[in-house]
Subunit: 397 residues, 4 copies
């Protein structure tokens, strides 16, 4: 296996990347344990894996495990999320080929994605279905060559089903596992949203009047974390039984208009566009902090807010002030993007450890059972989910 | 509508029954609201409803609502659960016919059940499928006459599907509604189990080491209530993902043998027979309190415990002491039956208000849609569940 | 030591008393441990102890420990609180002399108190300062004979200081210890108040809107227990810093008038008379449940409420209904007396175990240091408090 | 009033400082309200106030209020904590004179302190008693001229009493107020410590095994925040009653050696030097994270750890890795300094709003009552504490 040329920003950052990885590695015991197994089993010997995923330390720990299993790896990232030091470190690793720079353009991104597919991979790991899209347009020979694929995101899973209609090889959609959802949504998102609010505002949570709009798994996580730190939380949800559930848990429950007009902090987490829009902004109380914790950045109609505001200004990297016609001022965190990512560091490392372990064992499952699986997007196999849950329990108990 | 003869224990208790009802009525706002609606709509005019359900104040409040809707009612209870004062009060109500005594035998029970079916009801409400069983054996003409039925319990639903194979008319299984499960299991059972333990033992919950075996909706409710009152709770569950969920919630999670050996209080809530059996009892710590919070009384093998014990004695109505061979003493609450019923008063009134509202609107749904429904056991219709959730939210918000 | 004649209701109840004691004994590990120590040390050999305290199982376990330490005991109770079976059991014990009947009058009570003082005790344990009062009026010779005394209650301590001006021998006031206050008020009262509300009303706590008036140690305990079971709690307190404290803990905080008008449940725990009085009752919401958790029964002006009500009726042993002029109905629990006692069983057994251990070691301290102590009411000695805290920790850890 | 020359790093940063202030100002409603009052009253007209306090946005908001009250201000900061942009902004304000640069040396610091004293202030606000120390050595004429002073810190208060023996004018020690302690310690420190741990480690708190050593107000705050986010917390404390208190709250309680050997995260908050020292480090579990939340940086013997370690390396700005002889690795956050400051942003803004309001009203109190006060260090006057509590309640309720 000869080393292909990587495309990275600055190879001199490799040492910095190595150091950065060290901490992350200590918090990823599930991958650590899997790495040992893979070293013995070598399930990916002679195989090429093409990966599209954020190039940062957690991903790097995963690649170390895949390498231990014998794979040759070709990875690209997403525009703006690459950690150049991690990229430099990875580019030095034997058997890993990196095509990612923090400052890459969207065109670069597509070029890099094409580059990794040109190596004729046996397995791919996708993130938002970009690789799948290319395969179905320009790399059609891979449709029969590929053993299978994984897709990290829910929205990627949606594209596979509704747009691309991918049906030539099996694709396991990682986010559709119960393990990922329960652990990530209730605990990971709950903690990281509250963490990002604290670090971007330095505001006292005790006594704060918060409105959480949407009480699914994520919303419940956010609402409980806030309540448990002393906030007085009002929940908004459109489903009557969900409202009952929140009420008996001890939350106030109200209609959106009432909830937001009395809140110091308003968080959207509904999965729906325009959860906060024109008519809502003037109902907010003067000085309200607004953030989105949902997956997509359209829950708050930020463009509408910008149009509506008499003036706006940036008070810090994560806080923008909007002055409304009524002379109320409201403060938007993290540009309305998922606040735990835009104003924080995303899910706790342990949650990614679990998610990447699902990726790893899904790959092994594809290798072992690929030919007998139906083609197209599908859930994480029960046995994979079970195995990862058991490993996580052993690591965390 | 002429008044049929009731069979009750003592008609002189009617006034006592009237008084007892008053409190219960104040805590049942959903039925209060439905009663007004039914008074206007009179959906049950000219109809006879045969009911098998515990004859106690909450049921009486329900009957008042059904009467307001125009129904003539024939009710029988269960051996040992009848409140004779309530029975006497109901027997005085116009249009209500009661066949129930606290001291009735099982033969009496069957006789009474036959009696109410002999009135040729249009609708029935069953509790454990006893009425269904009789219809399918001895009252076959009702199979075509009946508009439909409801069944209160999960176990009754099971009998309908597996044993009786009831398929001649629609039967709505109340406990299979999400509303009933979430509200009753997480909140109703959680609270009432802890309530019954406090009232039967007068023990301090703060600092108590408790083991909760089974972390389904009920188990989670029990575990959270105990934790929130200061107990140090260890959760046992066989599902690896459930174990993770409990762990991240902040519980200790362990295997059964380890969990029970360090606990002051052990609660079973698994839905499985013999969750605690011979080999477990000697693992309990000396002085441990043991109770069952599951639906069936076989989760603790009480007969096995009795055989195994060197001696046993009753210390109070709700507490039995067993001295084991090892000279350990363990204390069983409520005979191993569901402790919130056997050593408490069962679910909070509000939870029954919601459950009986589901019954009421299921009856109305059957009257309005019965002929178009498929026959056999089925879930509570979505629109009924939604309507009851909305009424509950209005009442409790 | 010859056995004096006891005055009890029915000696045939002794076996029932023995059985009742068994459970209580298992929950009192601190006294169990002290009993062993006392058996070896015999600090009370040849001494007579006169005790005025509720004659019920917890007290009986204490007497067993004192007996083990060598004391001859003379005990009387309080009118209405004596458990006749416990009295009968104790009367059979060697070295214990009982003067207590459930149905005793106040005159009987005084006669019995005199009786036990006539035995010329070396130590006394008082409960509300009745024995002290008699000593300072009619048994003056005991003022010099007595080694010392204990007084259980805060109000007894007050009487000693302000009314009786007791200053001839040292009296240790048990309730003035930090250990008793923290453990009893925050945890014991918190739990037992919520327990008594659940058992007397069978109401769902989840979602309930509760107002807790008074946020001292007891009020905080009650408010936290309610919140932790899902109630939405508003706190009322007159101290601005205390209000801040409650706010940051996550409670709503409001003025009394506002708080009670929106509550389903109102609990007083201020230590002040007429916390709820004429002008407050009409502010309550229709159907409100009202209870007092404070030490004295005058926090709710029940006489005022009675006068003000258009009608009243008793709905159960613990619930009275009052119909106000506005046609609102409100429900009073446990007659306005401390609800954890009047509608429950008082503090958890473990809390009494700790309190009676303070009594026990205070006696030993008096025996060992009595002559060097200053006379008059005083706090529990630090070393006693420390020792009991350590024993409690060992027992509960 | 003519503008004196400021000593700052870079006056071109003034605009950046202005912007930065905007957010902070919105979270300081108590000072906002006081500013209005001071504008009307002008209590500090014609007065000079010399201040030693961290030059950063929260302090700047305070200076705006003092200016509104008429004061001319001379401020210096502490080495390393100055925000140069804030300094530049302040230097542009009329009536404010700034002597502070981020990169100043300790000698600069003393020079600057001297500079502000040379303006002959009427009032001073000290931070660690440095100004007091200079006054008592080199500016003795101020001892009679000064109306009075405030001192922000507990340790400064200690120096005033024990070292400097300051007794020529009254000094109000802000941290000795109940308001500051309760709000800051329980809520401010609790939140900010957990916040700083999350942001520096990105570790999942749910399920984490944490040991909190020290259960005073701060320790309790930290322990509760961790528990409420799902950690399994063991508390260590040397006082037996405090241990009981933690136990009944639901914490595990253990000896230090046991607690730290089973923990993933160990936090010291005892106020005592060498809480973690040589013999403790090897007891930590492999991979343990260690942080200090106490006021002083000597609770963890970092020098000892450095000597003991086989090797050490910095993994990020806030995380250092130490490899012990046993080959265990442990991770130290924020160099062992108070972690909420060294790896976070310190107390939430609202907590400083309250603290600086105490400063402000203490100044006014000194102006109004200075001559009648006793000299030397003293507590915040009750009326000041009460007034600030009421303002805070109005702002946050």
């Amino acid at each position: 296996m000869s080393k292909a040329a990587s495309r990275i920003a600055d190879s001199s950052l490799a040492d910095e990347g190595r150091q950065r990885l060290e901490w992350t590695r200590t918090r990823m015991p599930i991958l650590r344990s899997l790495k040992k197994t893979l070293e013995e089993e070598r399930p990916f010997d002679e195989m090429k894996i093409a990966i599209c995923l954020h190039v940062e330390p957690k991903t790097a720990v995963w690649l170390e495990a895949l390498r231990a299993g014998g794979a040759e790896i070709f990875i690209t990232g997403s525009p703006g999320t690459t950690d150049d030091a991690t990229a430099a470190f990875l580019a030095e690793m034997s058997g890993v080929n990196v095509f990612a720079k923090r400052e890459e353009t969207f065109d670069d991104h597509i070029e890099y994605a094409r580059s990794i597919l040109e190596f004729d991979p046996d397995l791919i790991s996708d993130n938002g279905a970009d690789l799948h899209s290319l395969i179905h347009s320009d790399f059609k020979h891979l449709k029969t060559k590929l053993i299978g694929a994984t897709e990290e995101t829910t929205s990627g899973g949606y594209r596979l089903r509704e747009e691309i209609e991918s049906d030539s090889f099996p694709t396991i959609v990682i986010n559709d596992s119960r393990a990922k959802r329960i652990i990530e949504n209730r605990y990971g998102v709950g903690q990281s949203v509250v963490d990002s609010i604290m670090r971007s505002t330095n505001a006292l949570i005790g006594g704060l009047r918060a409105a959480v709009i949407g009480y699914g798994y994520c919303g419940r996580g956010v609402a409980l974390c806030l309540k448990n730190l002393g906030a007085r939380v009002t929940v908004v949800d459109i489903d009557p039984l969900t409202r009952l559930d929140a009420l008996l848990e001890g939350f106030n429950v109200a209609e959106k208009a009432e909830a937001i007009s009395g809140a110091d902090l308003v968080i959207t987490v509904t999965g729906r566009d325009n959860t906060l829009q024109t008519e809502d902004f003037e109902r907010l109380s003067d000085g309200a902090i607004v953030a989105n914790a949902g997956h997509f950045e359209f829950e708050i109609d930020v463009d509408g807010l910008r149009n509506q505001a008499r003036s706006e200004s940036r008070l810090s990297e994560d806080i923008e002030k909007f002055s409304l016609a009524s002379s109320k001022e409201i403060f938007l965190l993290g540009k309305g993007r998922p606040v735990n990512l835009s104003a924080g560091e995303g899910n706790p490392i342990e949650v990614m450890d679990l998610g990447l372990a699902l990726q790893t064992l899904s790959f092994r499952f594809l290798v072992e059972n690929g030919s007998s699986l139906r083609n197209g997007p599908q859930n994480v196999p029960d046995e994979v989910e079970r195995m990862v849950s058991e490993l996580a329990f052993e690591a965390w108990k």
